[in-house]
């Protein structure tokens, strides 16, 4: 069955990725210097989708401004989810913008055209969802799946017992399916797309199609580092390749005495001084400035950030427009990280830094530090654990 419309759910915040998502929706988080959403849109366009509908909500300006009215020549229509009342509610907002059968994908998971194509090939008018093997399906927070032949028999959020498959977040639905979605039982006022699938599977069956394409879910900040590593490895990078695994945008200025250790990507307009070492597994964003002899490894440095001379950043994810002073040290390594109320043990994470932070000269961030938007760490001070937005850490 020919499907030309793709609905992308891009309205969510991604609370487990704060403070990075304090200023942008999760689909706009950069992985290897491109927002997650771009990989999703590429997958849809490459799979032949010719009409894109983006459901936007939280910080929607960021999505609209980035994507504009077309993506690679494919027209984009925006629909607005005013309140974030679940993935099903988000999809329901697209009702007036969609005509005929359509594809639905989450805007916050990196997918490839093959995954989309597999779902489209399997779609015969029966609601269809992509599933994939996952080593930790039992612990996967967005839904474990069981199939009987090509039929979905179970889709559960908190699986009990052995599961091998997970929900890949790619669905194909027939025309007129919105009425059925609207009738789905709500939970605490919210409407979830997986709940609709579960009800539908019991009523008349849902096709589950196994897919094996590139697929990276990002739930926690360290997932961004892992995703960047995978995407750099796969060469899914906009910037030009200079040598194996070294990608530098043509407008970046990299001093001849700087060292780029692949896999690494350097964004447009970046300036990198002599003696700097960047990489491996590192993405430095657009318009950043790295002064002499700084070292950045296994990190994502957000656009418009300034890194002072001699600074060392390991295992970091930083937001936009940080001021990182000379001699700042983020040593990185494994640590226990608290996200919300959960403790995640032995995650490799140097620090997660929101937009517009100031790390004064000689300051240090202990492993696993989460630094809120606009926070300041004073000269020589040491920050650990969680630092609230706008807070100042002094020695």
């Amino acid at each position: 069955m020919t499907v030309s419309t793709g609905v992308v759910l891009a309205a969510g915040e991604g609370t487990r990725l704060r403070p990075l998502t304090s200023t942008r929706p999760k689909p706009m988080l950069p992985v290897a210097n491109r927002p997650i959403l771009e990989y999703v849109l590429d997958a849809l366009v490459d799979a032949g989708i010719s009409d894109l509908v983006l459901v936007v909500g939280y910080k929607r300006d960021r999505v609209q401004n980035h994507v504009g009215s077309t993506y690679r020549g494919v027209p984009v229509t925006y629909v607005h989810q005013a309140k974030q009342l679940g993935s099903g509610h988000a999809l329901l907002q697209a009702r007036e913008a969609v005509d005929g059968p359509f594809l639905t994908v989450n805007g916050d998971r990196v997918i490839d055209p093959q995954t989309v194509g597999d779902a489209l090939d399997a779609f015969d008018g029966t609601p269809t969802m992509a599933v994939r093997d996952h080593p930790n399906a039992n612990e996967y927070p967005n839904g474990a799946v069981r199939l009987d032949g090509d039929r979905v028999t179970e889709l559960v959020e908190q699986p009990d017992g052995p599961y091998r498959l997970i929900n890949a977040g790619v669905y194909a639905f027939p025309a007129g399916w919105f009425d059925r979605l609207a009738a789905t039982k709500r939970r605490g006022g919210d409407l979830y797309l997986p709940d609709a699938i579960v009800e539908l599977a019991a009523e008349r069956g849902v096709v589950g199609v196994r897919t094996e394409g590139l697929w990276v879910d990002i739930t926690y900040p360290w997932d961004l580092l892992e995703a960047t590593r995978q995407l750099l490895g796969a060469g899914l990078v906009d910037e030009q390749a200079h040598e194996s695994g070294v990608y530098v945008h043509e407008t970046a200025r990299v001093h001849e005495d700087a060292t780029l250790q692949g896999p690494v990507v350097v964004g447009p307009d970046a300036e990198i001084a002599a003696g700097v070492v960047v990489g491996p597994d590192t993405a430095v964003g657009r318009n950043i400035t790295v002064e002499a002899n700084a070292t950045i490894e296994r990190s994502l440095v957000g656009a418009d950030t300034r890194v002072g001379s001699g600074a060392t950043l390991c295992d970091c994810v930083t937001g936009m427009a940080g001021e990182i002073g000379p001699g700042v040290v983020v040593p990185g390594g494994e640590t226990d990280v608290r996200i919300g109320t959960d403790i995640h043990e032995r995650e490799r994470l140097g620090a997660v830094v929101g937009d517009r932070v100031t790390l004064a000269g000689g300051s240090t961030l202990g492993p696993g530090t989460l630094l809120g938007v606009g926070a300041t760490v004073g000269v020589g001070a040491i920050a650990r654990d969680h630092v609230a937005a706008g807070a100042e850490v002094v020695r």
């Binding site: 936007v56 300006d61 504009g68 925006y78 200025r253 300036e271 936009m320 427009a321 517009r356």
Partner: protein
């Protein structure tokens, strides 16, 4: 100021092609619109009002033809009525003409023609079809149009269709006209967006050139028939860059595009670590005269201040005044600032400067514009197309570009060049920070019902105050005035009451800030609400009823940031009042008449 479109070779899609083209040209004027299609005979449809009125009219009656011209109008001669809308026809209805510009000798021509011809409109344009009608008695179609061109004085871009000829004849004199070249079709328009969706290959016509478009392609000659072969260029921007992308208005979209616009403006031109600014122009500068109008004039005032700070005598002039009362021009570089590069007043000023031997530089957004081609040099601000009639992103880019110009040519005076380059590179993120958390909407709601608004600023913030007031006037139709902060007490303070909010731009904590705070106290004492646009470095917040914050930055770039807050204030005030934000009454995007 009007928009022209024409196409040959679109078959049954001719009418839709014309209407879609007019859609993208509406920013050039929108008080009436019309089309004419030639297919043996000439059929014309036109209607006062926005383009939708014409579409409605055409729903009942659709002319057909494979050659067509269209027009969207902004009144210069005669009010917006059906009769005054273009195309205009001759007495036989076999010649249809669309025109942008002004025929200065139209009264003479009309008096001459009036005995044998019936005029149905108040426009200057209508003389053209009647002249062609007369010329057709002795000439073939093409020669008749050429003969008519010889009779016209003034500025014009015209396009003509004549019954029985499957061709468009067009000519350009002091009004923009560009061709779009595709494999099986040819287009002409006042501006590239009108046909960009069909082709990216364009030919910019020069003044004094005539073109025939027909099924075989296009032929360019001078008015006298000498063959010309202008080069075909490729434009690089995305046709859909002109969609609203989910925003309620183009202006709001364009305000949000500013980080990207400034990245483009800066790209490849600055090297912060080396402290270098490199432009592909290198004018010799002893003294500078800026000429501009409207928003661009505010950028010119700011630019002149940058050059003076580097010890170079520099002044900004209103272009229309400059053209008739030209100051002494010696070794001056005359810099023309114009978003479109087609502003007739500014063109007149640089032509006068050129006549007096000055070097000229166009600071513009439009590659291939008349100004870019006529000036000795051009510096492009690279903002991408701006559709909202009220300039937003292009003003920010003008301020950015003029900083680059000053740094590249005369330096920064007492300022540290690397700091300044750093501040320029910070602009995209600083503006994003404002856009993420602006309180402008709340301020707009609080003060929307005020009878008058004042804006004050000192030094680099003086042009920002002027621009803040202009923007509010343009799109909200509310009275507003901007002043140098110290000037208020020399007269206008008499108008300040509790009903007149005063926006004060105060950044840093230096002398300019302290003095402006003194002026803030003056208005506060008269009971006026004060809205401070500030980086929080001074204590102006103590005297303010509301604060619009901007990130701390260099004094020069602070002006760019403060302006972004004032753009948002103007937008939200206009939106609260339900104004036609992208197409304010009586205004057109680029004014190509003097």
């Amino acid at each position: 100021m009007c928009g022209i479109i024409g196409c040959v070779g679109r078959g049954d899609d001719t009418l839709d092609t014309l209407l879609d083209g007019l859609d993208t040209l509406e920013y050039r004027g929108y008080d009436s619109a019309g089309v004419a299609l030639a297919n043996g005979s000439v059929q014309t449809a036109k209607k006062a009002g926005e383009l939708d009125a014409l579409r409605e009219h055409l729903a009942d009656w659709s002319p057909s033809g494979t050659v067509g011209i269209g027009h969207t109008r902004w009144s210069t001669h005669g009010p917006p009525t059906d009769a005054n809308a273009h195309p205009h026809c001759d007495c036989t209805g076999e010649v249809a003409v669309v025109h942008n510009g002004i025929i200065e000798n139209y009264q003479t021509l009309r008096d001459e023609l009036a005995t044998d011809h019936e005029f149905v409109s108040d426009t200057d344009t209508e003389v053209i079809p009647h002249l062609i009608e007369d010329a057709l008695a002795d000439h073939g179609p093409e020669a008749a149009v050429r003969a008519t061109l010889d009779r016209l004085e003034g500025s014009f871009a015209i396009a003509v269709v004549i019954a029985g000829t499957d061709a468009i004849f067009a000519a350009r004199q002091d009004s923009p006209l560009v061709l779009g070249i595709d494999d099986n079709a040819t287009y002409l328009a006042s501006d590239v967006p009108a046909f960009r969706v069909h082709t990216d290959r364009v030919v910019y016509l020069d003044d004094g050139q005539f073109v025939r478009l027909d099924a075989d392609g296009y032929t360019v000659t001078d008015f006298d028939g000498t063959p010309r072969s202008p080069s075909v260029e490729t434009v690089d921007w995305d046709p859909e860059a002109t969609g609203k992308a989910g925003y309620d208005h183009f202006m709001l979209k364009e305000i949000h595009e500013q980080p990207r616009a400034l990245r483009q403006c800066l790209q490849g031109r600055v090297d912060e670590l080396a402290g270098d600014v490199t432009l592909d122009i290198d004018p010799d500068i002893d003294r500078v005269q800026f000429v501009a109008c409207g928003t661009s004039y505010h950028a010119a005032l700011y630019g002149a201040a940058l050059f003076r700070a580097a010890g170079v005598p520099a002044q900004a002039f209103l272009a229309h005044e400059y053209a008739i009362q030209t100051p002494p021009v010696e070794d001056d570089l005359v810099v023309a600032v114009s978003q479109s590069g087609e502003t007739a007043d500014t063109l007149a000023a640089i032509r006068e400067a050129d006549r007096r031997g000055a070097d000229t530089l166009a600071l513009t957004n439009v590659v291939g514009s008349t100004m870019a081609r006529e000036c000795t040099d051009a510096l492009f601000i690279r903002s991408g197309p701006e559709i909202g009639v009220a300039a937003s992103k292009t003003f920010s880019a003008q301020l950015t570009a003029v900083n680059l110009l000053a740094l590249a040519t005369v330096g920064a005076g007492d300022e540290d060049v690397r700091d300044l380059i750093g501040a320029l590179r910070d602009l995209p993120a600083d503006i994003q920070t404002i856009l993420d958390a602006s309180g402008a909407r709340e301020v707009a709601r609080e003060y929307v019902d005020s009878e008058s608004f004042f804006f004050i600023g000192r030094g680099y913030h003086h042009p920002v105050a002027l621009e803040g007031a202009l923007k509010l006037k343009e799109i909200s139709y509310t009275h507003a005035e901007g002043f140098a902060a110290g000037e208020l007490k020399h007269g206008t303070l008499a108008l300040v009451t509790p009903d007149t909010p005063v926006f004060a731009v105060v950044t840093g904590d230096g002398e300019a800030a302290r003095k402006t705070i003194g002026n803030v106290k003056e208005v506060e004492a008269r009971g006026a609400p004060v809205i401070a646009v500030t980086d929080g470095e001074s204590d102006v917040e103590r005297y303010a009823d509301a604060v619009l914050e901007i990130p701390s930055t260099h004094a020069r770039t602070a002006a760019v940031l403060a302006n972004v807050q004032l753009q948002l204030v103007a937008y939200h005030v206009a939106n609260e009042l339900g104004r036609s934000i992208d197409k304010p009454r009586n205004l057109a995007k680029s004014v190509t008449v003097e």
